[in-house]
């Protein structure tokens, strides 16, 4: 009886020591959860969530200050993945889901005021004062932040349609019900 207790106690001590050691040895710096949340956010940096960028929103979610359904570019899929990560309930998106678009500057109208450059969070607009500006479509995240500052309203957001580059094979449709 006493030996049994002793063995148990010894085991507990050893395991406890091991755990303690592991927690020191494998300590993870920073807050990995924020990183994980941020990895899910689409990095559009549009501020539609009410935070100045994806990182601040990620931090707010982590602190429990923000809901997980505020990011329109992330769409329902983003909400789903955040819910999976955080073990929260899936909620409908707090906005309309929009198809992905990129900004387009009408170069004939642009007056070269550079306001859009300052608005663009990812430096996807090139141009200089009094020169026409243009969007580097590959870098544009479609955040629409450059649209309101433009004094001559020459920026539009055409939707990227399906093309041969982004075409995807569809999920096979299962037609079981028809038979019977």
């Amino acid at each position: 009886m006493i030996t049994a207790i002793a063995i148990m106690a010894l085991g507990a001590v050893v395991l406890g020591a091991l755990l303690g050691y592991a927690s020191i040895k494998f300590k993870v710096e920073g807050d990995p959860l924020v990183e994980k949340i941020e990895a899910i956010l689409p990095q559009t940096q549009c501020g539609q969530c009410g935070y100045p960028g994806c990182r601040p929103y990620a931090e707010a979610i982590n602190k429990g200050e923000a809901d997980i359904n505020l990011c329109p570019p992330g769409g329902m899929e983003g909400v789903q993945r955040l819910a999976d990560l955080l073990g929260r309930e899936v909620k409908p998106l707090d906005a309309e889901e929009k198809p992905k678009a990129v900004a387009f500057i009408d170069e004939q109208t642009c007056i070269g005021c550079t306001l859009c450059i300052q608005a663009c969070p990812v430096d996807a607009i090139i141009g200089a004062a009094k020169q026409m500006h243009t969007i580097v479509a590959d870098l544009c995240t479609g955040c629409e932040l450059c649209v309101p500052p433009c004094p001559v309203e020459c920026i539009s957001m055409p939707v990227i349609g399906e093309n041969l580059d982004n075409w995807k094979w569809k999920y096979p449709v299962i037609e079981l019900k028809k038979v019977a």
Binding site: W169, K170, P172, L176, K177, K178, V179, A180
Partner: protein
Amino acid sequence: MEFTTSPYLLKNASVQRVMLQVLAALLPGIAAYVWVFGSIILLQLVIATVTALLAEAAMLKLREKPLGLFLSDGSAIVTAWLIALTFPPLSPWWLIVTGTLFAIVIAKHLYGGLGQNPFNPAMVAFAACIVSFPALMSQWPAVGLQVSVADQARVVFGLLPRLDAISGATPLDTLKTALKLDEGSISVTQLLADQTVYGFFAGRGWEWVTGGYLLGGLFLLWRGLISWHAPTAFIAGLSLFSGALWLYNPAQFANPMFHLFSGGAMLGAWFIVTDPVSGCTTMKGKLIFGFAAGALAYLIRVFGGYPDGVAFAVLLMNICVPIIDHYTQPAIFGMKDRS
């Protein structure tokens, strides 16, 4: 052409064809069964089949699946036949019905239906019934029973009291009981010499039935419907363990031949451990699965409390399938040197 993607050519294969061939492979065993135990088994097969189909239909309806498609796939019939063949031939009708319902409703459909069941439905039914009705499940009629088929049918439907003649046991069970009672005064060899019970090597009549199953298994192997791995490993596991103990003490333990051809060993080897849905899928996995099931079957059979161990062994191994599969993934094309 209505379907959207290649390949546009398909082999003429279907689940139905697979299942029908499995049923065909059971026929030699059934024929021997009829010859040895009488045609009452046919009645049991019919009861089981009808129950299985009705249960299947009801479940499909509940789950809103296409009836025609799934009813005709034959998988329920295979389960039904396996149940009928593993239950005693003179079991009351409700025992067969209960077993079949259990298999189809609980073991199959509650887990998601065709292809989704982690446990072999027939074995689940067998295990459930032998735990619940141990006496009924171990009463086997003596070979060459002198009761007319009509009377047997009455027994099945409970119109006649259960006769003494049918309260026998399988040779496997008989041997076990005999050994237990005698406590070493009589050796296995002496016991097995009684040909009226034990036949030539594995039980009078039983040898033929299990031989029939072996034949059916070879047919499946030839048709390429099963791979050799699981059955061979099962037989190896059973023979190895029985052989080792038999060599150690032939007076206490029966020889491998006896074990292979008695009880559910042959049926298990060719029709149960080869069940694709609940078994392992990798070749290595099949070897492990089969071998372990064979060994367990032997251990349960000899040291456990039930007359046979195949069902429990298979169910136990079913639990291990995901992990075995996970650790036995084969190396793929071009990655073999990198283990």
